[in-house]
């Protein structure tokens, strides 16, 4: 247990230092979400506040998954992930280190966007409540990212594969268009994706949506993390058989 905790911390610290400024992490994890925020703000500055919860959720999604592609696929390609498996730490700890590395990147980016919204747009945000939904959302997205990234080898393959669920989610999970206003079939589909719960959770904590059950959304996001984690651990283990 102590070895695993030490291993997790070592992996996170090394990934933060080594990969956070890699071009794919910057382009998909920083530039892309900020470009979306600015584009939607410039199109409609008056009603922009209603879009902020969705954009915060989208920022969390893109930044964590972009970071996962970097921290996992760079090492898969170079073979350095194998080094971690040779160390006296468990596969679960290695995967958790990788997931937390992506989640911390997402935390930094989402917090940056949130700070910009609070200070530049006077967006009303209760930080503790915000974190209560942001943290499970980051874990769910990062775990989902790790599962998809482990299916391929190269960083560009991972980013391409990740774009499929990312863009589907952006359009049906209520980021720009409310889920409730969509046809029933799409509403059902939307509830199969974690971004929907993150958007609803952020809407709840920022007062955009009244009566949202934030705790339930956070619990569903944690459940998503678990659902993605187990096959990801299995996939990582199989990669080296």
């Amino acid at each position: 247990m102590r070895d695993d905790l030490r291993g997790i911390w070592c992996i996170i610290a090394k990934d933060m230092r080594t990969y956070y400024l890699k071009p794919p992490a910057i382009s998909w994890g920083i530039v892309f979400p900020i470009a979306w925020v600015l584009a939607l703000y410039l199109r409609n500055p008056v009603d922009f506040k209603g879009l902020i919860p969705g954009l915060l959720a989208m920022t969390a999604l893109f930044s964590t998954t972009a970071a996962e592609a970097v921290v996992i696929n760079f090492e898969l390609r170079l073979g350095s992930l194998e080094r971690l498996l040779l160390a006296p730490i468990s596969i679960m700890a290695i995967l958790l280190g990788k997931i937390l590395g992506g989640a911390i990147f997402g935390l930094l980016m989402s917090s940056l966007v949130a700070v910009m919204c609070v200070f530049l747009l006077n967006f009303d945000l209760h930080w503790i409540s915000f974190l209560s939904i942001l943290l499970p959302a980051l874990l769910a997205f990062s775990t989902m990212g790790s599962l998809l990234c482990l299916m391929v080898k190269e960083v560009f393959e991972a980013q391409t594969l990740l774009n499929l669920p990312r863009f589907v989610m952006v359009f049906i999970s209520g980021v720009v268009y409310p889920v409730e206003a969509m046809p029933k079939a799409l509403q059902f589909l939307a509830h199969l994706f974690p971004l929907t719960y993150a958007v609803k959770g952020f809407q709840g904590v920022s007062g955009v949506s009244q009566g949202a059950n934030v705790a339930l959304h956070a619990a569903v996001l944690m459940a998503f993390s678990l659902i993605f984690f187990l096959p990801a651990a299995n996939l990582l283990s199989k990669k080296f058989e």
Partner: protein, 334 residues
């Protein structure tokens, strides 16, 4: 020597002089059987060579021995501990150098060593001490602050080996350590490997370089198509393959008269290998008196006389039916 936290505790220690024990190891990938039930022991402090052509199962075996790949069947024990039941402990006292130098490009030489030390739980002060000592051992002190990606191939290889030693392992696995290195870098690495063996470290080395195995290893296992065909000391392997020695004789002037005289004395015609050189097969003890007598009888003037011993290459070719050139070409992807 610094003590590592993952070395087996006294109560876990099983008194044994066997560092590595492989029993009936099989590895199957679908229909392909890469390793077909191999068994061998490596003594503590031994430098054990695992020699074979490309695709023979060397890397698959090393991956099973280090716990990186699960065997389809069979068991591995390191220092008397089953690696499945004691994964963290056994990983803690083994160092592994994979075939590819796969440290982190963005980290410097020193940072890579410190990271690996931290991962293995080496205390901060010891980490710095050992990192410094290893950089010195591999002559990389001047490159300590250079990112890994900027180092030459030989330096990368040396640093990869240093990283595997940062936690002072009891057993070191080296997978093709000198592949792709120039002569000087390979020689320097071999010298470092010898030093580690002299310090008492058990070393398991896979290689397809016959000369490397010959000069470094205490014992050699030859693996061909997933099966071990011989495990012996290099000298014994040579003897196993070629029973007879030969004596090569160079004289001033023509060898024809000497050939006739020798043929009469030893009952077999010596082979002329050059205008002034001939070779006789047999043991040195049985040949030398006849050669001296023939020289005396014919009055031949000797320029040189050498005992030709069988090489490991000849033994390898005899045992496996493969040529060393073929092995080198396969490895180079030619």
């Amino acid at each position: 020597m610094l003590q590592h936290p993952h070395c087996p505790k006294k109560e876990e220690w099983i008194v044994t002089s066997i560092a590595i024990k492989a029993e009936g190891l099989i590895k199957r990938y679908g229909d392909i059987v890469a390793v077909k039930g191999i068994s061998f022991d490596v003594e503590e402090g031994e430098l054990f060579g695992f020699l074979g052509p490309n695709g023979a199962g060397k890397t698959t075996t090393i991956r099973m021995l280090t716990g990186l790949s699960k065997p389809t069947a069979g068991n591995v024990e390191l220092l008397g501990l089953d690696i499945k039941a004691n994964a963290a402990t056994t990983k803690g006292f083994t160092g592994v150098v994979p075939e590819a130098s796969n440290l982190y490009d963005e980290l410097t030489a020193l940072e890579n060593l410190l990271f690996m030390g931290k991962l293995y739980g080496v205390r901060r002060r010891e980490r710095y001490e050992r990192a410094g000592a290893l950089l010195e051992l591999f002559r990389l002190q001047e490159k300590r602050d250079r990112p890994f990606r900027t180092l030459s191939r030989g330096m990368k290889r040396s640093l990869t080996i240093a990283a595997a030693l940062i936690h002072n392992p009891k057993i070191l696995f080296l997978d093709e350590p000198t592949v792709g290195l120039d002569v000087m870098a390979a020689r320097s690495l071999r010298s470092a490997i010898r030093k580690l063996r002299d310090q008492g470290m058990t070393i398991f080395l896979t290689t397809h370089y016959l000369e490397e195995a010959d000069v470094l290893c205490d014992r050699i296992a030859i693996i061909v198509r997933g099966q071990i065909v011989a495990v012996e000391k290099p000298e014994e392997l040579k003897k196993m393959a070629i029973k007879e020695q030969a004596i090569e004789l160079t004289i001033r002037g023509s060898v024809s008269i000497l050939v006739e005289r020798l043929a009469a004395l030893i009952g077999a015609k010596p082979i002329i290998v050059g205008s002034n050189t001939l070779r006789c097969s047999g043991t040195a003890n049985s040949l030398l008196p006849h050669i001296c007598r023939a020289i005396q009888d014919t009055g031949a003037e000797i320029e040189s006389i050498n005992t030709i011993r069988p090489t490991l290459e000849e033994a390898f070719v005899r045992i496996t039916g493969l040529s060393s050139t073929m092995m080198a070409m396969e490895k180079g992807g030619k």
